[in-house]
Symmetry: C2
Subunit: 634 residues, 2 copies
């Protein structure tokens, strides 16, 4: 278990060594002959020369008569020439071999069946000559051209029916780990669902390769080694996917090393540092870390360039966009760090907000709009830094996304769903940072809207006094949201007999709280203050969750006895619920957003009957003036 990373080699250096090893010791992909109907998206392995010209015959470009231009020389209005040798042609018809021009039907004088012309034709007028588009023998496409649908049209038109293309790389993916199980709906505790091979398969397929997923191999060195050797024989590239436990990589490294060569073990990137680069025979092998986010980075940064190299594909076209960083980001000097961000276009600037750094949090990867990289030897970046971000979603979608950052309520997920349904191409993303976090996000120009439910202990009112304090000069608008029933979520049947806040300090009681700045936590503090109770007397006060549902999940799992939250969360987990109050959950908005068409879409959803119906279905919501704009200043 005394695991040490063998090296901490900078990413560029590691990639370069790996590509050099591949160039020297591994095999490039072969070629295969495919019918052109199957060639879209494939890369030519040889140049293609036109077999026939396009067009392949002299074709009339007009309806009229084909003739020899020489025969019409001297024709004038006063001395028309009578045509003797001619052929009537329609557009597209072949021009006979003894003709070299076409006279349009409009220019023919029909004198009782005798055809005449009154001006001399120019040789080759109105004829699409052989090879106008491409000539037989001409190189239609050089080697390593990617075949597009139009390119296939060119190939057909120059008589080519089959082309030599680079073979698709077979990428063997080997999942390993005693606790890893195939995807299922009801895993037992301790079982880890094997989703990496699905993610990796999708990625390599997007890159033009063909994934071959091997059965899950238990943590046994001989079995792993055996499978790596087999995969290296059967495939052009192998990904050995270690489990997520520390120390497991030892097997991967030993297996690759004993069957072939470990070139590098340990790279100065985060996530992804325990990656292994090597080969077995002439097949490149990469030991991919088990955490999915680490794995994705290793695939993007190391596997893709190597696959491109053996397939002769050009580098990925990264779409880099300038953005402003919304928060300070710390980064260790030791690593080059890859940080997923959400992107929002607010007040005309693209704002990048870092998402969770957790290597296990794959959902943030699926939801990320962009990827920022902090160089090795950089300690981090301050809020407001101008950075370049790689866009991971199409820019037109990013620019049409409403960014909601603030208090968590499932209603934002429902709004997002309704917006997607009603306005194709318009999106809503939501991030949960609590009500105070939402106010700060709006203040910093990171978000368009923020859900807030902040109780003013002085007057028992919600939200208004906070806005007067934080936005004395305006710049924001407030939309009335919903009334939310808050209360204590407890185990089904309420075995601890909890009646209210005064029961939370009881011996043996385990509470689960929300994070600092969350309106629900502020509500708890208010309740404690009213009763003269102390936070430190509650076991679990410091146990923080970020959403109502995650509080409910902890209680449902039996690891806590009570937590404050909304009715719908309790209901979704079948928990009992002791109501405490109905609070006002409103929506704070940037003023410029309110003037944009995005607002109209957003407001139309909030004010819709289907939205109210859906929340009613979830339960615990009331609707008074929902969707109405409220003035917060006196």
């Amino acid at each position: 278990m005394n695991y040490t990373y063998l090296t901490n080699i900078p990413l560029d250096e590691a990639r370069e060594s790996f590509l050099k090893m591949i160039a020297e010791k591994c095999e490039f992909l072969g070629e295969e002959l495919v019918p052109i109907a199957e060639a879209t998206g494939r890369l030519l392995s040889r140049p293609v020369y036109a077999a026939i010209s396009a067009p392949h015959f002299h074709a009339s470009a007009m309806d009229g008569v084909a003739m020899l231009a020489r025969d019409g020389f001297g024709a004038t209005e006063t001395t028309p020439v009578t045509l003797k040798n001619y052929t009537v042609v329609d557009t597209g018809d072949p021009v006979p071999a003894d003709c070299d021009c076409v006279v349009m039907v409009e220019d023919i004088i029909d004198d009782d069946g005798v055809l005449k012309i009154a001006q001399p034709p120019v040789p080759w007028q109105h004829v699409r000559q052989i090879g106008e588009d491409i000539c037989a023998g001409e190189m239609a496409f050089p080697s390593y051209t990617m075949m597009s649908p139009s390119a296939l049209g060119v190939l057909i038109s120059c008589g080519v029916t089959k082309v030599w293309v680079v073979k698709k790389a077979k990428v063997g993916i080997i999942p390993t780990g005693d606790e890893i199980v195939a995807p299922k709906a009801d895993p037992a505790p301790g079982e880890i669902l094997e989703f990496n091979s699905t993610i990796f398969s999708g990625m390599v397929r997007e890159w033009g390769a063909e994934p071959v997923v091997y059965p899950i191999i238990p943590d046994k060195l001989d079995l792993i080694t055996e499978t790596v050797v087999k995969a290296a024989e059967e495939c052009d590239f192998v990904l050995l996917n270690a489990g997520s436990s520390a120390g497991r990589e030892d097997f991967a490294s030993t297996a690759i090393g004993s069957a072939g060569e470990v070139l590098i073990h340990g790279i100065a990137i985060r996530p992804g540092k325990p990656a292994i680069l090597g080969r077995v025979g002439t097949t490149p092998v990469v030991g991919v870390p088990g955490y999915p986010v680490s794995g994705v980075i290793v695939l993007e940064e190391l596997v893709r360039p190597a696959l491109n190299a053996i397939a002769h594909l050009p580098a990925k076209n990264k779409v880099m966009v300038p953005a402003v960083l919304s928060r300070k980001v710390n980064s260790p000097l030791k690593y080059e760090e890859f940080i997923r961000v959400s992107l929002a276009s607010v007040k005309g600037k693209l704002i990048a907000t870092p998402l969770s750094k957790g290597a296990s949090v794959i959902s943030s990867f699926a939801k990320a709009d962009g990827l920022m990289v902090i160089d090795q030897n950089t300690e981090g970046l301050n809020a407001g830094s101008e950075i370049m971000v790689e866009a991971l979603r199409p820019m037109n979608q990013i620019l049409n996304t409403i960014a909601a950052i603030g208090s968590h309520d499932p209603l934002f997920d429902e709004v997002s769903n309704f917006i997607n349904r009603r306005y194709p191409g318009l999106y809503l993303s939501s991030t949960h940072v609590g009500s105070m976090g939402g106010i700060n996000a709006i203040k910093r120009g990171e978000a368009h809207v923020a859900g807030i439910h902040l109780l003013d202990e002085a007057d028992g009112q919600y939200n208004l006094s906070y806005l007067r304090t934080h936005f004395p000069n305006g710049g924001v608008k407030l939309m009335r949201g919903v009334g939310r029933l808050q209360g204590f979520m407890v185990q089904k049947g309420n075995p601890m007999g909890i009646k209210g806040v005064e029961d939370l300090t009881r011996e043996g009681m385990r509470y689960v709280n929300r994070q600092k700045g969350a309106g629900t936590r502020i509500l708890l503090d208010y309740l404690l203050k009213q009763k003269g109770m102390k936070a430190e007397d509650i076991y679990g006060y410091e146990r923080e969750e970020f959403t109502h549902l995650s509080v409910a999940a902890q209680i449902a799992s039996g690891s806590a006895d009570a937590g404050l939250g909304i009715y719908s969360a309790a209901s979704s987990y079948g928990l009992d619920f002791i109501p405490v109050c109905v609070e006002q959950y409103d929506i704070l908005m940037d003023e410029e957003f309110v003037a944009s068409p995005l607002f109209d879409a957003f407001a139309s959803i909030i004010r819709s009957k289907e939205f109210e119906d859906r929340l009613t279905e979830l339960g615990g919501y009331t609707f008074t003036d929902t969707g109405k704009m409220v003035e917060y200043r006196d």
Copy 2:
């Protein structure tokens, strides 16, 4: 045959009416349940809620012991606490239900088998709690989310094994035309190879739909109508692909109108104006013009938005880049015009050069880097105009493309092929405008390199004096190219007994010439002048071709008896060749290009043995100082 376009409706208006008709009278795609392994690239038709939490159990984040934090309260260095109820865990192991924290193995004191801790643990330390990534009941993705590989990972991790997705649209493609034949290698004169359905199939497949190609239907109204009705029943969208002859669209319009409704016939775009928008029953039907370039524009501008609408897909993400127009472009006020351009990054600017406007010239579409649009009601744009261009190739490829514009020689195709082979991700594009055209392209900053072979009649020398005249102040460099054998290409066996230029004016002789500004034409003019001959005495002097190969193609087809050109072109068509002279074919280069890494790649190819070998194989080339830089100024 008196064909009239019914209308000239602006594109935006036509598209809007079409989408309105679809929304009101057509059917949206249904949904289907697919296993998640098949869901990549599919669009969710319903929101997905997490079935289980991820992680679905409390997992240890460290190797150590799991315990109840409460049991360790009060532990200090001087008063360590002895552990009684604990479980040894590895990273990833489930934390037992009666434990709520993990103490790292490093913080455990092993006192002869009795375990102690010297500081109190914090509840939930080193535990990945249930739902850290996503909670059961949480909306994992809203409706109409596109499934990426990472998204599938999220679905697996929250216990989802199947998802509802929007069905793939079936797009029926009906090729029509008496003269249209299935792709083959040896079409007879008059036969037109059917490549549109291959192009259209590839396009709709790229857009996530499934093409269904019907057999070619002859030009018979009843058969066409019958097939349209059948396709409208079997598919979700129908493309009726008219032939290329004028008047043929009448059938399409009548067929659609009699089976359903013609909404619009005739749109103010070029190419693409005779498009038909309509429906048969609840299925949208588009009559697509026969010329491939027109068809591609109609598919991009009208079919794609309509397919997106029935599939609920967002609009295409067009990558628009600013560029400078290299030439004046005229455009009729009547139409919105789509012009394919090549893009080259020269002297730090992106230069857009319009390609052939011919609607039949599919090769220029396959080679286009970008698409510019000239609005209806705009008469055209001047050279130097700053325009926005839609990039059709990835920008990293465009920026790594060497732009060659100038005299035609197949050697540029060979260089392109070698560059692609040796430098993945580096490209060369070449355009044939003749030597003088090449000099002008370099002058205007449109190209990096230009092949030139310009004979100075005064001294019989090549190229140098032209450069002294056109670039007196430098800014360019000249690289010695190859010696090229020029001569008269004549029919096999030389049936006309041509010995030299003096035979060209003979009775019955048909010449084929090169375009104005081509070095080869200048050479002919020089030969004529030497002999005191007149151009107007040569039949076909005005017949212009743009490449050596197309001159050869005309002679090989029997439509001309002689043309001046290079040996390799004659040889490739099996023509006889009467040598005239060896000329100096050099490469003119922009000075800034010579200082760039692109030059190094280019020069390494020109100076390589494989390049010399390949040209030797083609024949007619000599190599003296090939690849050497030459000073042209005194």
